[in-house]
Symmetry: C2
Subunit: 204 residues, 2 copies
């Protein structure tokens, strides 16, 4: 089992490698880009099978392939979005998910004005179709983009449909059964960090 900080850094190495064109990459190059120590990079990569050659570095293709396997990049993961508002529509349109093997197969809403409209190439569906779509596309992840007042109710619905992973954008803690994984993405939390750090700098 990978330590969590190592796992988090391996994700950043994977992202960096998408832009590296050379055949080999050194731990110094990765370390400099991420402003961390080269020993840390070597230690993290020692969890993988790919080894580095002294003075030459790691073979980029081999590292990429092994990290793809670790994150299951090549395995297509079907995702549904609930909430076709501002955030839900931005996510449904986002082409960046493709390179991680993530495909948004459907988007849902409970507002009659939105149902039947197009968001990207998807038609907004009513919630009554959720179960049928989850079964048909073997959907693994449900993305919650509804206001916080409706988020728990939507989580219950996703769980009832057999979804095992929830990506939650609503700023609220959700209650779900033990076997359902939740990743919370309250982006205002980072803004608070930035605000706090700027405050401290000005000596408030």
């Amino acid at each position: 089992m990978l330590p969590k900080p190592t796992f988090e850094r391996l994700k950043l190495y994977h992202r960096l490698l998408l832009d590296v064109e050379e055949e080999y990459v050194s731990s110094e190059t990765i370390a400099k880009l991420l402003k961390i120590q080269p020993e840390q990079v070597r230690k993290d990569l020692s969890y993988l099978r790919t080894t580095g050659k002294p003075k030459v570095g790691y073979k980029v293709e081999e590292l990429k392939k092994e990290l793809d396997e670790l994150f299951g990049i090549k395995r297509e993961t079907a995702v549904v979005i609930v909430g076709a508002g501002r955030l839900g529509s931005a996510l449904a349109n986002y082409q960046g998910f493709r390179k991680y093997g993530i495909e948004v197969v459907a988007i849902f809403d409970n507002d009659p004005q939105k149902i039947g409209q197009f968001v990207s190439d998807l038609v907004v569906l009513p919630l009554k179709d959720l179960k049928r779509v989850v079964k048909r596309f073997n959907v693994e992840i449900g993305v919650i983009c509804v206001p916080k007042e409706s988020a728990q109710e939507v989580a219950n619905l996703l769980v009832a449909c057999g979804i095992k992973g929830i990506w939650n954008f609503a700023p609220i803690e959700l209650e779900v059964p033990e076997d359902v994984l939740i990743v919370n993405e309250d982006i205002t939390q980072s803004l608070l960090t930035l605000k706090h750090l700027l405050n401290r700098r000005r000596g408030r």
Copy 2:
């Protein structure tokens, strides 16, 4: 100086308190909602001045007030967004920032078709107005919502205008001077975590 894990949890306590209507709250209540241990909550709150009364708990108003101070919530922070695309528009419209004292004062783009259009109640401005707006509104934070190929160039521009904090949504590491703070928000990183955890569960 607060340890980073404590700081991260205090942000979650602050968010929870927004929805608490009782006069007092116990460490057990907070712990249960966040699925952590009550001792951890008491230890975190011991960094604050507000103390809990045995059997009664912490006075909600006092806790809120002290956490507001810690995060500088009451101090209005002016923010600009560069990139009036899908994500930039969703952020410009987001009313949730107000309760953290964050105000989006302007949004910029380099696409002539977008300049002059309305996003929320803001007119999309050309980049040549960035410096004037940053000075006039004493803007502290610049939000980068442009494609990763333009992100570094936009970061350089924000730094040249005197911005001290950058909230970066583009999936790339940015180079900025030591005195500029960066918080990266590559939301696809969380999707990778979810995908990896689901993979492991299925025993792939």
